[in-house]
Subunit: 656 residues, 2 copies
């Protein structure tokens, strides 16, 4: 038990490094007044969104915690509040860092790549380290105080609530703003992209930050916490108290590995992408070595270590194979781009099909990891392999947050007209983000899959299901209903984007009509109102899918019983992973097909093929930025709901 003190200590160390990096970034020069003006507008908009999101979240979390206090107990409710609050705090801090980093990276790019890169990376690392640190402190302190894994489940549930708001809400917001800005500005009035006359332009820029920076970290951390809880539950069964401690200790080692791994992120030979990947791979190696030592020291069967290793290897393999389908220089993207010559319909059909086929390699990777991890250490092996992958999440989120930051830097450099030399550097930085993303995405997918499988096993453990027979009609019906959930929730989110975009379009049209001199550039638009409309609508639309993911879960449990609910969770995993992969990759394929054409192929920008590719890209946007990334969080919420409400379900279900 004394050994456990290294867990909050590691968490604290992580936060201290994050604060140090934050001030390192802050003391860099923030460039010309023009640059600061652009950055400030984005900052004000992002903060406006976050303020509204946190307000709505507070109400949602407040109501939920009362429900939890009434139906379960007060400690779970408190842990739930703590989970959402600490995730929200970390997200806010990370976002604040990102909003400072973008303009400073752009400014440093004037002095060259080697000056700009570390600022961007360290700015992103603030998000990665602070979120992991707070999560680990929260879990370990709660475990120390209560020693009750149900309370930890509450903490995890709270983090998931935030993730849902950040991913789904942020996803609806960012696409609303995007479509609203484009439809009226570009299509109806013919003014260029990112034009300051467009009232929705700030909302659009804000969206990139809200969806990508604040949203991404929350998704991985959601899996991170859930995997630790699941592993603690299954570990207790397998190895008693030592088994419960192991996931926490692995988390602490992961933080150490991540901090050390960051020293390996140094640009060599003008290749920042390789630097990021070197950081990830070094972190994995260091973590693997430390994990081996820990397992040996604790006297746990070495097979547990091999299970951990299986997850790490699967993550890397999945990342590399998945990359094939969305890479701009590979067959699927090129063929989709070529099909754009025959119009939008075939472009859609092509991207749709490749999106589905692209799910095959990661599904095989997940299958192999599942069997290998299980063969070494049973269901605990699956849980611990998820923990293994996610322990290095501090590094993963850092490398991932880098992407949208340099994307923003590029935008600022362009709008502030910093010249071609600077743009070349920001372009290179931007491309590096995509290289890193291939590997980090593999980790995110593999880890999410293994985590929900572990949660599934943890649920079975909690409700005492020894065998879940797929020949039982209640289980079959449970799987049917569960399998419907991810596609239906995706569909609702996509429809939300459409509805919310309508509201936005009306507001933009109204401003152009009522504000004299706006089109001529003589009057300033009301940016804040657009930000507010997009935010308000996004948070409103988010409610139905969020409530469904909780309510249907409880309803299935109470009416059809615990076995059906087990089937339901299984079903949600099967289609959830397929849809998450399909939507993310189809979106990526369309996006890159458009970029491929814009690089001058098949007629280039402005050609009929380009117009068709733009339709594909617009279809893909809510796929890859709204629905796809939300699915994982929704499944996690469903699994956690089932486990938390298990006592009620077992006691009051109509069917056994």
């Amino acid at each position: 038990m004394e050994l456990l003190t290294i867990v909050p200590v590691a968490g604290l160390a992580s936060i201290i490094v994050a604060i140090y990096l934050y001030f390192y970034v802050k003391k860099q020069e923030s460039g010309s007044p023009k640059m600061r003006e652009i950055a400030d507008a984005i900052k004000i908009g992002a903060n406006a969104y976050l303020k509204r999101q946190y307000k709505t979240l507070a109400i949602f979390v407040g109501v939920m915690s009362i429900i939890l206090a009434i139906f379960l107990n007060i400690n779970v409710a408190l842990a739930y509040l703590l989970g959402s609050a600490s995730s929200a705090l970390a997200g806010f801090f990370g976002m604040a860092s990102a909003l400072k980093t973008n303009v400073r990276t752009a400014n440093a790019a004037k002095k060259g790549l080697n000056n700009a890169f570390p600022i961007a990376f360290y700015g992103g690392a603030v998000m990665g380290l602070s979120i992991v640190g707070l999560a680990l402190i929260g879990i370990s302190v709660l475990y120390y105080i209560y020693g009750d894994l149900n309370v930890i489940l509450g903490f995890s549930f709270g983090a998931s609530a935030l993730a849902l708001f950040a991913k789904a809400g942020g996803g609806i917001y960012t696409k609303t703003a995007d479509i609203g800005a484009d439809l009226v500005g570009k299509v109806e009035l013919g003014i260029p992209e990112d034009d300051p006359r467009n009232p929705a332009v700030i909302a659009d820029n804000v969206g990139d930050n809200v969806g990508d920076v604040a949203g991404m970290g929350s998704d991985l951390i959601d899996s991170y916490i859930a995997s630790i809880v699941a592993a603690m539950i299954l570990g207790t069964v397998a190895y008693g108290a030592t088994g419960a401690m192991l996931p926490l200790l692995l988390g602490a080692l992961g933080i150490i590995a991540s901090i050390v791994g960051m020293f390996f992120v140094k640009v060599k030979g003008n290749n920042p992408g390789a630097a990021l990947n070197r950081g990830t791979f070094s972190t994995c190696f260091i973590f693997a070595a430390l994990a081996l030592a820990l397992v040996y020291f604790l006297g746990i069967n070495l097979n547990v270590f091999y299970a951990t290793l299986a997850g790490l290897v699967a993550g890397i393999v999945i990342g590399i194979t998945t990359d094939f389908f969305t890479s701009i220089d590979r067959g699927p993207v090129k063929k989709t781009a070529e099909s754009a010559k025959t119009g939008a319909a075939i472009t859609i059909l092509s991207g749709f099909s490749y999106g589905i086929i692209s799910a095959v390699p990661p599904i095989i990777g997940i299958s192999v990891a599942t069997i290998v991890a299980w063969s070494f250490a049973g269901v605990f092996g699956i849980a611990i392999s998820a923990v293994g992958m996610l322990s290095v999440v501090g590094m993963i989120i850092s490398a991932d947050a880098y992407g949208p930051i340099v994307d923003n830097s590029r935008g600022i450099a362009e709008q502030a007209k910093l010249g071609k030399a600077v743009l070349d550097i920001t372009d290179k930085l931007d491309a590096a983000g995509n290289t890193a993303k291939a590997v980090t995405k593999g980790f995110a997918i593999g880890a999410a899959a293994l985590t929900v499988l572990a949660l599934f096993a943890a649920y079975a453990e909690i409700v005492d299901i020894k065998i879940l027979d797929l020949m039982n009609p209640y289980v079959i019906v449970g799987v049917f209903i569960g399998a419907m959930m991810p596609p239906v929730l995706s569909a609702l989110l996509i429809l939300s984007v459409g509805k919310n975009a309508f509201r936005m379009v009306e507001e933009v049209r109204r401003q152009f009509k009522e504000t004299k001199g706006l089109v001529q550039g003589k009057a300033k638009p009301d940016y804040a109102r657009c930000v507010d409309i997009a935010a308000k609508g996004a948070l409103k639309e988010l409610m139905l899918p969020s409530i469904l993911s909780i309510a249907v879960t409880i309803a299935v449990g109470l009416t059809l019983g615990k076995y059906a609910l087990g089937g339901y969770l299984g079903g949600s995993i099967f289609t959830g992973i397929i849809f998450a992969l399909f939507m993310a990759n189809a979106g990526g394929t369309w996006d890159n097909a458009k970029k491929y054409i814009e690089s001058g192929k098949f007629g280039g920008k402005g050609s009929e093929a380009h117009k068709a590719a733009v339709v594909g890209d617009t279809v893909g946007d809510p796929f890859k930025d709204t629905a796809g990334p939300s699915i994982n969080t929704l499944i996690t919420v469903m699994s956690l709901t089932a486990s938390m409400f298990a006592p009620l379900i077992v006691a009051y279900a109509l069917m056994v």
Copy 2:
């Protein structure tokens, strides 16, 4: 056993009635020389396609039967040959009738609705009755000779092979021709739809017959035979020889009910749609009464009858609720049409989302039917409820085949310029087809789902799986792989349409370029070549998904074992039903959204909204006419493969 003689007798009666109706239709007048010319062109094209299809099928079936003879036994191989040959024969006969009926219905429409309707209906009934009759004779004779259910499985597998060619091959063919004709004719040269100068126009008309008439029956009959085999296997376990006989006897009663039910198909008050539904409902009632008597007479538990009833009721409920989402005067279609105002992308997103959501009511219907049927009579209950629904398939196919026949009549009336009065009547006949389709589609969906569930249970019975534990990693991985199959096979089929359409486009362009005077209407195009290219390509593209559905099934069984294969079959059912529903309904929504706009809403024909809706419709075409309808057959093939190769899998699998 003597009672069983009524089965082939009923089958024979069915065929005799079919032949009688064929000659009834044939002796009607076939109209003016112009009408006959159009009808002949379609007939020649359809026969050319069928000839090529049967040739390819013969090779495929030949190779497969050798494989079956080597790895299983010669009797199974012979039954396989018989199954595919008798289905092919029935399909050919039904098609011949349809090709005679279309022009005769158009001609009779000159004399009014009441003259035209019976011709169209009886022409379609030829398909329904002949296919059911041949299937029932085949099964009962084989059962009489061999008394071995493995041989009947072979027969079912043969019928599925034909269904695969008819649905998937026909589906690729018809969409290839459609896209090829439109892209060059309408888009590039601006000549109107159905213009005889377009070399692909006959291929397009042929496609409607090939895909809809020949394809549709084969799908239902595939489920019909498979449900009987599954019920015989499970019935033997539950009730011995009586249990094996029951499905066959129910089939015989279904034929009697269908023939009697056809007398109720009389137009009253100018409403042919109600006449078709009256026929379906009467058939169901008569069948239910006969089934009750049979179960009582055989001394089987009455619960088995209630299980049968559950299927019938579910079919009707599913049909009515599903209709809501694709009806032209309901919310989803109207909203999708409205979203077309903002362009193609939102149209796609809207139809996609409603397509997914539309799967919810039928999934609930299937779930309720599953639980009710099982509660009454266990897994045999599920099988027998599928048999119950499919026993009336003679009537269902008849009401269903009516649709494309009158659609063709309408086309002939228009091209032969028969005037507005006749067109009004053919329009009314056409609308009736859609009304009937709502109910028949409900039957097809519900029956297919229950059938594959029954096959799944039959597989478990054959390989002696008592419990299929969803907590076992091999089962989980099996479900993962199985769940991937329907989406991946759909994606391959959709890509095939794109590839084949390219070939077609090139040929049409070549003819316009090389044939002097073609654009001016002075030279005749080479229709046959287009038909041939579309057919050749379709049959070539069909191979990969067909072989995968068999090969992956065997590979999973041999590498991961019988439990994983059970999970695999389960997984294929879960996503298969979702994707089949989603694709069919999304396609229907887009189709009707386009029609809604063409009726003058949101700017009407030629508006920007209409262009966007056309993109939606083109995306929906391969969804609803190629991939969607093929999924059910593909799952059936997978299930039958698993059951047939079970002895090999049990003996040689790497894992238990």
